[in-house]
Amino acid sequence: MKVTQTLMTASVVALVAGGALAEDMTIVSWGGAYSSSQQNAYHDPYMAANPDVNIINDESSAEAVAKLRAMNEAGNVTWDVVDVVAADAMRLCDEGLAMEIDADTQLAPAPDGTLASEDFGELLVSECFIPQIVYSTTFGYRTDMVGDTPPTSVCAIFDTDAYPGRRSLEKRPINNMEWALLCDGVAKADVYDVLETEEGQAQAFAKLDTIKEDVIWWSAGADTPQLLADGEVVMGSTYNGRLFALIEEQKQPVGMLWDAQVFDLDGWIIPAGLSDERKARALDYIYFATDTQRLADQAKYISYGPARASSAPLVGMHAELGIDMAPHMPTDPENAKNTFLYNYEWWADYRDDLDAKFQAWLSQ
């Protein structure tokens, strides 16, 4: 009897405590070093300024499009602000799942008064999207597992003779298909034209087939750094900021392979269909988190370039390590000798098709 009574009391207490929480704002992001940089640069100062708001972190950005679609169909959107890559933002905007935001009236101008639309410039690739950072998807390799010849070309990923061992690639067609074609002799300018044809897709899959047995497929940005740290893979693709954290903060024996890095944008969207109150709160957060100083602050914690032109001069030293961040930015001339441009329009059109084929290919 006593146990039942205790259980009952505990449950009643739990119920009351559960009802008392209010003003939660769910911010969805990618987790790992990236989320902690946002926590430091945006969330903590925002909550300090707005004590009535409690930010809840959700690490579901990888499935953001799917989950938002599901929430929307069910008519129950539980997210307030979502961090997504530009391509996902365009898709969400296309489908009416993200709210349109007017940069000039709803975002902070630069300190010198320049309008936000001008400050972000051509990085505003969609009406629903407020860019935060420029990042790149690139490769890291274990310096102690590649002998005396560290890889200098992205094609090392397909060269299992020179670099035996497992490698990690993202569990989706984007980037992998392009790299496969590049390393199969397709010129950089022709990649998307080739990929549009059945033969081109077959060619890319055939190239990927040659390493299929050696690949660990990742779906979260933290996977490759962990796999590299554990020595489970010899090299793997991930976001450059993750590799920076692995190399400079955790001092792991890992090197950067900047060749054929793919530039991309990452930023915020606000889901469509929020109540006015939640929408106002989300907009207030966005206004705060994307101003010039905040974007520059984030670069103190992670090596991604701020999306505002006006933030660039404010980027300085790493907050804890005290090293100059500029040479670690993907846009540094030394790193950007050979970059690959990601075609948003093309992927917006072909993503569904290639996803289906890629998943089928994976499970065969």
Binding site: L7, S11, N76, T78, G221, D230
Partner: protein
Amino acid sequence: MSALPPYATTPQRVWYYSFRVICGLIFFFLIAPIVVIIPLSFNAEDFFTFTPEMLAFDPEGYSLKHYQDFFSNSDWQNALYNSVRIAPLATLLSVSFGTLAAIGLSQDHVPFRRAIMAILISPMIVPLIISAAGMYFFYSRIGLQGTYIGVVLAHAALGIPFVIITVTATLVGFDRSLTRAAANMGANPVTTFFKVQMPLILPGVISGGLFAFITSFDEVVVVLFVGSSGQKTLPWQMFTGLREQISPTILAVATILVGISILLLATVELLRRRSERLRGMSPT
């Protein structure tokens, strides 16, 4: 497999000992994975394997930092808080509904008993992913997806079969003449239930409750689909951790959970023995 008789032949001796070795190895397979994480959770490094310092029993190689991380990290603390406020309520729901129904089911004449039993047991039989998917769609429609109540209801449904099974099992050995005697002496049904029936089936009720509790406390598939980040439970946090940001804090949490399961296991064992003794079924 009583002791080896003195007249055993050599092959019999060989077989006797090798069989014990084989069984020992299988027990090792069962237990070692659980035991191995305990020392690893005290690793001073962020690795998942034994460092040379640990193998040399150098105190430098050990630390409590992963436990500190668990108790100071807000993600883990939120997850703990959510687990603690979901599981008890779900348990309470399944125990109260389940006990009543089990008493109903143990009557002599229950129409459609088989069909009812099949429905009540089904949450245990249907693969979790299917339950999760179904609840995801259905709870979305009625506005329960992503809510605390939604997760509690879902977990209560999953715990019910365990309560039904354990309580009906205790009722099988229940001497019905006791309730009749009580009625005979003028007790009303409610008094009979609380004064006579309940104390005797209580061990079954509690162990059913513990099963329901561990089902909810340990459940990850359904909460992944039915919950949202506001209901992120410990197993969910562990699942994300294992998939995304693998940190040895998981091993510290795992060690704590192993401690909890040992406690629960001991309680259930004690209850089982007590119940057998009460009903005079124990041979000892």
